[in-house]
């Protein structure tokens, strides 16, 4: 779309703005006395300019020192930017199919002057009207009131959101409010600083270098023109430039990575809420009607002051029916939530934090003066305490130690390290990892955390990578929190625009939020969509409010996260045991030739055959994992030839009947299922044995092996399912998986969690 560019002159300095309805801006800036600064003149720069370029121009002009700039210089600088832009535009317009004229005649039309009042041009603008703008006389109070009402409505609806224009209109449409003059009302909401208008694809901000003026100027221009553009919704830098008929630019960029959620493009409007408490009260006041403060609108129905903040582990255990291991970890996570974060000034001493932490502990357990009790509670062995108790003692000890070792906990002080690339946080957002073994009951552990976040007036989201998990989670959570509003979001969900205290969403849906959640829980942080995906990391960081907290759930944290744990930069808690308090089944190695050899010779080695017989005879369902989809067919044939009396099936991600086969497997109709890693997560079969063929394959890392091994022995009735690594080699990854499983069992035994 296109926008108007105009500039306002104050007693000291200038400002440059964009507008979707210039009449609103004129009324706004000429209203006397209630502005922060008295405006003297309003100049129209250009009437129709691609939105992205207009915003870039604003950003460019902001880099100047505007307090003492002369009129000529100011306008000349704008002129220079526009010229520069139209030259670069013209050079890339050669192959364009849209030879729209770019209305960038850099003339300054004076519209209004404090002494002279409206000029002819100004009068003309006031009397003009376009589509999607509020018709009528801008000077009339009726017009203003109507506009204000709509602007309030929009800003309320947009709280916590980050939406493209068409998403915003869809949301408003669904809410029943038909908005006939969105341009005008959005403009007013923007002027009153309730929402932020951004172009969905914008050059990334860079550090300014202080050199000579000339260098600075050229550097600025360089940055703005050739600086890598970034999609502000998903953070991707894969931008494709095409001719665009909606803004007239010959090279308008769009983001190639988040197309599935609707195209985000350079001339597309991205509407984001400005958080109410960040504004100064002054700027809220408008000239005509005061926009009611949206803070009232953001209060949560579920927030209730009677929530008992000082809950004890015992109460938690009873209320949510957690196992001791679950309780301990959940309690540590809860401590993490209650510990107030230091201000992101970055200069807080560790002493401050230690004090705050102690305060939080005291708040949690009124009778306990120090954190030592927690250590005793959660574990008998201090060596293996994860998370906060170790964390706090580390900080306390750290005070006496080398200064360099201390300040690495909080983002302001984080040392530049490789973790930087793969973590989700931005300033002021803290993280906590719940490292729970497969089948530990992660969902139940999350309940107290959700409750805490919501009862203390925040909003929480659980983001999981897959849609079916969302659908499975929703009823469980609804049962656990019958009195709390829940929004379930996934691609194609009916509740797309619902705002609720508790949101369960697929990870992609996080892109539609902006600083919305005080608590972001991310399930299976190591699973496919998150793993090495900067887009979802960006989305998660955007969705988390400033000072909000992340909780990651994982059974197999990535190497980066494990390294952070080792370094002590990531608070965490381990749940080393399953909810039924039996140790994890330890994989056994079956040495055999590779699967391809077996298939080509049509023979199953005796060791595997007898083991399979044992499994079948004991009545277990069998998962047989193979590394490649192409081998499934052959493997199924091979096994059928040896075991004709049982029902053998194969499935993969490319199988259209996958759901049916999995449910048949659940119902014990299918006894042996040959599959790939797609079933490594989320499938729970009561009595099952797991065979991993070609466990030495390079596709299998330790995490995949652990997840697959985690399919066995999940139920109370059959806690000791068999897990077999069938391979010709004993690789590092297999060793790693085995040692991690053994390590968890050892911790569980030492902490006395095992039955």
């Amino acid at each position: 779309m296109q926008a108007v560019l105009y500039t306002v002159k104050y007693a000291q300095g200038w400002s440059l703005h964009i507008s979707l309805d210039l009449r609103v801006d004129l009324m706004w800036w000429t209203a006397l006395a209630k502005r922060e600064q008295l405006s003297e003149q309003i100049w129209l720069v250009t009437v129709a300019m691609p939105l992205g370029k207009a915003l870039q121009c604003c950003a460019y002009m902001k880099t100047f020192n505007r307090s003492s700039i002369q009129q000529e210089t100011w306008l000349a600088n704008i002129h220079r930017f526009l010229l520069d832009y139209s030259h670069t535009g013209a050079s890339s317009a050669l192959g364009s199919t849209y030879p729209h004229s770019l209305n960038t005649d850099p003339v300054g039309h004076l519209l209004w002057d404090m002494q002279m009042g409206w000029t002819e041009a100004g009068e003309y603008v006031l009397s003009s009207w376009e589509e999607d703008q509020l018709p009528g006389n801008p000077a009339s109070s009726l017009w203003k009131r109507k506009l204000t009402d709509e602007a309030v409505y929009i800003s309320r609806k947009l709280i916590g959101r980050s939406l493209l224009l068409n998403e915003c209109t869809a949301m408003l449409h669904e809410a029943g409010g038909s908005l006939n003059a969105w341009k005008s009302s959005i403009q007013l909401a923007y002027l009153s600083k309730h929402i932020r208008l951004r172009s969905a694809v914008h050059p990334a901000d860079r550090q300014k270098r202080q050199t000579s003026l000339h260098h600075r100027l050229s550097a600025r221009l360089h940055t703005l023109h050739s600086g890598a553009a970034q999609c502000l919704r998903c953070g991707s830098k894969r931008i494709r430039y095409t001719a665009c008929a909606s803004c007239g630019s010959a090279a308008c960029g769009y983001c190639e990575d988040c197309l599935a959620l609707g195209r985000s493009r350079e001339c597309g409007l991205l509407l984001q809420a400005v958080y109410p408490d960040k504004r100064t009260a002054q700027s809220v006041n408008s000239a005509w009607h005061v926009l009611p403060d949206t803070e009232n609108g953001s209060s949560h129905p579920a927030a209730c002051s009677s929530y008992d903040i000082s809950c004890t582990p015992e109460a938690m255990q009873q209320r949510w029916r957690l196992s001791p291991a679950q309780t301990a970890a959940a309690y540590q996570a809860l401590l993490f939530l209650t510990a107030s974060a230091p201000v992101s000034a970055g200069q807080n001493t560790t002493k401050d934090f230690a004090e705050q932490f102690e305060y939080a502990e005291r708040r949690m357990i009124p009778n306990v003066p120090t954190g030592n009790e927690i250590n005793e509670y959660s574990t008998g062995n201090k060596k293996h305490i994860g998370g906060f108790s170790r964390f706090s003692s580390f900080i306390k000890n750290g005070q006496n130690k080398n200064h360099l070792r201390l300040p690495r906990f909080w983002p302001g002080r984080t040392r530049k390290s490789i973790t930087h690339t793969n973590t989700l946080r931005s300033a002021g957002q803290e993280r906590f990892l719940l490292w729970a073994v497969t089948g530990a009951g992660k969902t139940e552990m999350v309940f107290p955390l959700l409750e805490h976040a919501i009862r203390t007036g925040g909003r929480a989201v659980i983001a999981t990578p897959r849609r079916d998990v969302v659908l499975e989670l929703a009823p469980r959570i609804a049962r656990a929190f019958p009195d709390i509003e829940i929004a379930v979001l996934y691609g194609g969900s009916d509740e797309r625009w619902r705002t609720a205290a508790l949101t369960i969403a697929t990870t992609h849906q996080l892109m539609r939020f902006h600083e919305a959640f005080e608590l972001v829980i991310i399930d299976e942080i190591d699973a496919f969509p998150y793993h090495n995906n900067p887009m979802l990391s960006y989305a998660a960081a955007q969705a988390c409010s400033q000072g909000g907290k992340f909780i990651y759930l994982s059974a197999t944290p990535s190497a980066e996260l494990q390294q952070e744990i080792k370094r002590g930069t990531l608070a965490h808690a381990k749940v080393p045991v399953r909810y039924h308090r039996h140790p994890l089944p330890v994989p056994r190695h079956l040495r055999m030739p590779s699967l391809t050899k077996c298939i080509s010779s049509k023979q199953i080695p005796a060791a595997l055959r007898s083991q399979l017989h044992t499994s079948i005879n004991r009545g277990a369902q069998i998962f047989l994992f193979v590394p490649r989809i192409a081998w499934i067919e052959d493997a199924v044939e091979l096994i059928r030839s040896y075991f004709p009396h049982i029902y053998v099936e194969g499935t993969s991600s490319q199988d259209p009947d996958r759901m049916d086969k999995v449910s048949l497997f659940r119902q014990q109709q299918i006894r042996l299922l040959v599959t790939t890693t797609i079933l490594e997560r989320g499938v729970t079969i009561p009595r099952s044995d797991v065979y991993i063929m070609d466990a030495h394959d390079k596709l299998y890392d330790a995490a995949a092996l652990i997840q697959m091994a985690g399919r066995a022995g999940r139920s109370m009735d059959d806690p000791a399912g068999g897990v077999f690594f069938a391979s010709s080699d004993w690789t590092v990854e297999q060793k790693r998986a085995l040692s991690q499983i053994r390590g968890m069992n050892r911790i569980a035994r030492q902490q006395g969690y095992l039955k």
Binding site: T97, A245, L259, R265
Partner: protein, 282 residues
């Protein structure tokens, strides 16, 4: 150095040694590009349901077509239609990705497929007329201004431009859409016909462009010897217009556009033959 860094390094080296490896637009697989259809891997090219031999000579459908035998259709304004591919689920997905999701990476894919469709059509015509067949002018079924603004591009116009560039034939916006119509894809046959009535008219300059192209054709020396030898020199005053669209279903849109083009031609005493080439035939 972590495994991840090593693998990115390795991928960097690979892409340096094998510069043709890139992600397939349709399936996102990282693989060698064949080059036949730019941007597609060989597996995706293999699933394209080409129409090799149209069964219906009128609409270019690959199966028998009762529609074109209707009496009313005898008075159609275009000569015939040819389509490059059948509109199956995969093609539907590609077109939706392109049109509705705005993935303009598909421009090359759809344009490349259309180009092959054109060459097939040209071959068929050449063997029919016994001389090299080519259009004098390419135009397309335009999108409505509203849709153009919201979508940002006119898919038929873009692929028409791609084709015109490849075969070196002028491509001009002869048609304009007078009003916004309900999406044809949501309508039945009768509604479609009613829906497009009077929607298209010719561009104010269309007649001049047609004349100009015809004049150039008359003065240009290309293939005069060939055509006069075969005795079809009289075709000189017939202007052949190739009308491009993305999809042909009942032909009502194409027919309505062809009608507008014929009107433009008739008003200046030009005989025009309108051929339609669509990307897919449903």
């Amino acid at each position: 150095m972590s495994i991840q860094q090593l693998s990115t390094l390795w991928e960097g080296i690979l892409s340096y040694l094998h510069p043709h490896h890139s992600a397939c637009i349709a399936c996102n697989r990282h693989t060698a590009m064949t080059g036949r259809i730019p941007g597609l891997c060989h597996r995706c090219i293999a699933v394209i349901p080409w129409i090799h031999q149209p069964v219906c000579r009128v609409c270019g459908r690959a199966v028998d077509c009762p529609d074109c035998r209707r009496h009313a259709f005898a008075n159609r304004h275009f000569t015939f239609n040819r389509s490059a591919v059948q509109y199956d689920a995969e093609m539907r997905r590609w077109l939706a990705e392109y049109k509705y999701n705005g993935n303009e990476g598909y421009t090359k894919v759809i344009g490349g497929i259309l180009k092959e469709g054109y060459y097939r059509m040209q071959q068929e015509m050449t063997s029919f007329y016994h001389h090299i067949w080519y259009p004098d002018l390419i135009t397309w079924v335009p999108a409505s201004p509203d849709r153009l603004v919201s979508r940002g591009f006119d898919q038929a116009g873009v692929i028409a431009g791609e084709l015109a560039k490849a075969i070196r034939v002028p491509c001009l916006p002869l048609l304009i859409r007078n009003r916004h119509t309900v999406k044809q894809s949501t309508q039945g046959r009768r509604e479609r016909m009613k829906n497009v009535q009077g929607v298209f008219s010719y561009h104010p300059q269309a007649q001049e462009w047609l004349l100009h192209v015809l004049q150039r054709k008359a003065t240009s020396p290309t293939d005069t010897s060939l055509s006069s030898a075969i005795g079809i020199g009289d075709r000189k005053n017939i202007s052949r217009i190739l009308l491009i669209d993305d999809i042909y279903t009942t032909g009502s849109t194409i027919n309505s556009c062809a009608k507008a083009l014929q009107q433009a031609a008739v008003s200046r005493g030009i005989t025009a033959e309108v051929f339609a080439l669509t990307w897919s035939r449903s």
